[in-house]
């Protein structure tokens, strides 16, 4: 029997709980995905998320497994890897049978895929801590900083705390355009993760375009700093050391559409 869960981390942990106490799951899948049942198993079971059960699993992982276990499954949960829930299931089954030393089994088929997935996610998070650009949208009484992202993995929850600490006094929105989620941080308040509806998305789009297009609502200061930054970016490269391959290695093309300095660069070369 396969378990279906609602897509939340708590839901996943609840499924893990039921797998442990009331019967083995063939696999765990999100309920809204195009789930295809296996030919040789009898159907699927929808798991109802219960945070009390999820908490128990969470604590068991914290207490009984190594320090690396919780980050590993959380990062894997945030990845876009197919069948990640089932990978986490196998990882936890094996880990609970072996104990804290499970994470040393780097080559074990239950451990290796999760460690690999977690590495990828944390790598992308680290990369986007730097490759994220805010633009300033004029607003009273305090401007809004807005960043658009198109990450491979669902890394917003990992970025939020860093920027919420760094930009305590600022209003900011970090928008994952692919998943339509956003971190919303009002100045001097806690941040929250929220699904953006079409109305808000359109408003943000208009506000972003207005910066350059609209002379009335435009933000010449923002354009000025974007130009300064682009100029800095161009000037700081040493001509006789030019090395496009190295640069491509560090900034893959898929991230460039959101980088101020790269957009300007492409316009210039056209």
């Amino acid at each position: 029997m396969d378990y279906l869960y609602d897509g939340s981390f708590d839901g996943l942990l609840t499924a893990i709980y039921h797998d442990y106490y009331s019967g083995r799951a063939g696999g765990i899948y999100p309920q809204d995905s195009p789930y295809q049942g296996s030919l040789f198993q009898e159907g699927s079971h929808l798991i109802e998320t219960q945070s009390s059960l999820a908490d128990r699993v969470y604590q068991a992982i914290e207490i009984k497994l190594s320090d690396a276990a919780l980050p590993a499954i959380y990062h894997t949960y945030l990845s876009n890897i197919p069948e990640k829930e089932t990978l986490i299931l196998h990882y936890l089954r094996f880990s609970f049978s072996v104990g804290p030393r499970a994470d040393s089994y780097h080559t074990h088929p239950a451990i290796q895929p999760v460690q690999k997935a977690a590495r990828r996610v944390s790598f992308e998070k680290q990369r986007l801590l730097g490759l994220l650009r805010f633009i300033e949208i004029k607003q009273e009484p305090q401007p809004l900083l807005y960043a658009r992202l198109t990450p491979d993995h669902n890394i917003l929850p990992l970025l939020a705390a860093h920027f919420a600490d760094r930009l305590q006094e600022e209003n900011f929105i970090i928008h994952d355009c692919r998943r339509r989620f956003a971190v919303i941080h009002p100045a001097r308040s806690p941040w929250r993760l929220q699904l953006l509806d079409n109305q808000v998305t359109r408003w943000l789009e208009r506000a972003e375009n207005a910066i350059t297009d609209d002379p009335l609502t435009g933000n010449p200061q923002e354009v000025w700093y974007q130009n300064l930054w682009s100029r800095y970016f161009d000037s700081v490269a040493i001509e006789s050391r030019r090395n496009a391959r190295l640069q491509n290695h560090f900034i893959p093309y898929r991230y460039r559409c959101n980088l101020v300095e790269m957009i300007k660069l492409e316009q210039k070369t056209i």
């Binding site: 040393s104 089994y105 780097h106 080559t107 290796q112 680290q126 801590l129 730097g130 490759l131 994220l132 650009r133 805010f134 633009i135 300033e136 900083l145 960043a147 860093h162 920027f163 600490d165 760094r166 930009l167 305590q168 006094e169 600022e170 700093y225 130009n227 300064l228 930054w229 100029r231 800095y232 970016f233 161009d234 000037s235 700081v236 490269a237 040493i238 001509e239 006789s240 050391r241 030019r242 090395n243 496009a244 391959r245 190295l246 640069q247 290695h249 560090f250 900034i251 980088l259 101020v260 300095e261």
Partner: protein, 473 residues
């Protein structure tokens, strides 16, 4: 002149400085703007592939010095510009808010006098830290010759400071930067490293200033000059030991002296008290402007690490900007390969338990450019290989070309559970491209032939450049 023009001029003058690290300091935002992440964050990569982490600019490029290798030398007719403190602080804040940068890297030409320059830089830092409540990363160049009191103030505001040593030996420094002396460069370095070691800054209190400054430091600086001379055949025998002894004692006694004497000496940071340069100190050397060989460069590097406890010594391949009979021609390409090999050697010395004389010695004073220094060592020591993955110590694993710190650690951890085969190595992420030629797994050689054959490996890894045969010889 508007900010855009100034920025262009002052970035172009600053870009040859290598350091861009923003790592090593962890600080939360305590009301204001910014924090610091100990792992460091790169924000972009320029067209030359170098990372952009900090806003790297000069306060001014209007220099009184006349160093031959420098684009800002007094006698050059380049356009000159200077930022005002406010201008630069605003620029930093606005870039930082938009997440363009991780902080500020502020250097400067010597404008009018070292003190004047240092004061201007200090003004910028004060504005950033006190007026704008900026908690991001700041790297500041110390201007040699500036008043130690200014250095101390700066040390409490910046995360890291650096003094560029420029040349590995006093001879080449005298030749290329006639107004600088090794002593004038080592003096501020010594002040900063003592300040970091004491954790409470350069001065304990005002009364202490004079005696402390006039005493041990002068003598110590003199000793260093001797150390940084190009090693002759005699001193090269035991370069590291000599360096360690003569300076280590001076520095230890200076610190010990302070600790024993004072009652208010801040050995440990009181809560809320600012730390003195939590990110430590670094320096930079220009590679390829002078005739110095790799032996003297690495020797100087090692001495600097030992005596001043530097976090990093950076190497900068010399990019010709001036025409000068003593320098490589303007058309000469920067020695990038050499710079790369020096960094590799630097890593071998600091993390891989290598000694200098294992990398370069009097017989081979220069690094090979076509293979990395670890590979070169392997070819010189065929008796050391093949290394058995399941038995070799951690240190021996580190000597295998292609196995780095992380791989070695994983191997050691993994083999506690089960014997390691070649397939296991691939799974735990050890890259075998080069390593397989030098190892056995469970007694079986992992390379191409039955047994290890250094010449065949060399031919495969670094094939000799094809030579065009001539028709008539």
């Amino acid at each position: 002149m508007d900010t855009l023009e100034k920025l262009t001029i002052l970035v172009n003058s600053a870009k040859y400085d290598v350091s861009c690290a923003s790592s090593g300091v962890s600080r939360r935002n305590s009301g204001g703007l910014g924090n610091a992440a100990s792992f460091g964050i790169c924000h972009s990569w320029a067209a030359d592939g170098r990372c952009i982490s900090l806003l790297k600019v000069l306060m001014s490029n209007d220099c009184v010095l006349d160093c031959r290798y420098c684009g800002n030398r007094r006698t050059n007719s380049t356009p000159r510009a200077s930022f005002s403190a406010k201008e630069l602080a605003d620029l930093t804040i606005q870039f930082y808010r938009r997440n363009y940068i991780e902080g500020l890297f502020l250097s400067s030409a010597v404008e009018r006098s070292p003190d004047h320059t240092m004061e201007k830089m200090l003004e910028t830092l004060k504005m950033l830290r006190h007026d704008y409540l900026f908690h991001g990363y700041i790297h500041l160049k110390a201007i040699p010759g500036a008043d130690p009191r200014l250095l101390e103030q700066a040390g409490f505001l910046a995360d890291r400071m650096s003094v560029n040593i420029e040349q590995p030996t006093e001879q080449s420094l005298r030749l290329l930067a006639p107004q600088k002396t090794m002593q004038s460069l080592l003096k501020p370095m010594k002040l900063l490293s003592d300040g970091i070691a004491s954790r409470g800054g350069i001065f304990r209190d005002t009364d202490h200033k004079k005696s402390f400054y006039a005493g041990p430091i002068k003598a110590a600086a003199h000793e260093n000059i001797a150390l940084l001379k190009a090693p002759g055949p005699a001193s090269a025998q035991q370069p590291t030991q000599g360096a360690n002894l003569s300076y280590g004692t001076t520095s230890a006694s200076a610190v010990g002296h302070q600790r024993g004497e004072g009652d208010s000496f801040p050995v440990q940071r009181a809560s809320g008290k600012p730390r003195f340069l939590p990110g430590g100190q670094s320096t930079q050397m220009i590679i390829g402007a002078s005739q110095d060989n790799d032996l003297s460069i690495l020797h100087a590097t090692d001495t600097l690490y030992r005596t001043f406890k530097l976090k990093r010594v950076y190497f900068s391949a010399y990019v010709p900007v001036n025409t000068d009979s003593l320098l490589p021609a303007l058309s000469a390409a920067p020695p990038l390969k050499r710079e790369h090999r020096l960094y590799q050697s630097d890593w071998l010395l600091r993390f891989y338990h290598f000694q200098i004389n294992e990398i370069v010695d009097d017989a081979h004073p220069n690094l090979e450019t076509d293979i990395d220094p670890k590979m070169a060592w392997a070819f010189r020591h065929p008796e050391f290989f093949p290394v058995e993955i399941n038995k070799a110590s951690y240190e021996d694993l580190l000597r295998v070309p292609g196995i780095g710190l992380q791989s070695a650690e994983r191997i050691v951890r993994q083999r506690r559970l089960a014997a390691i085969s070649v397939e296991t190595l691939t799974k735990i992420g050890v890259v075998l491209k080069r390593a397989r030629h030098f190892i056995t797994c469970k007694g079986r050689y992992a390379g191409d032939n039955k047994n290890i054959d250094m010449q065949a490996i060399r031919a495969k890894i670094a094939p000799a450049e094809p030579v065009q045969l001539t028709l008539f010889s």
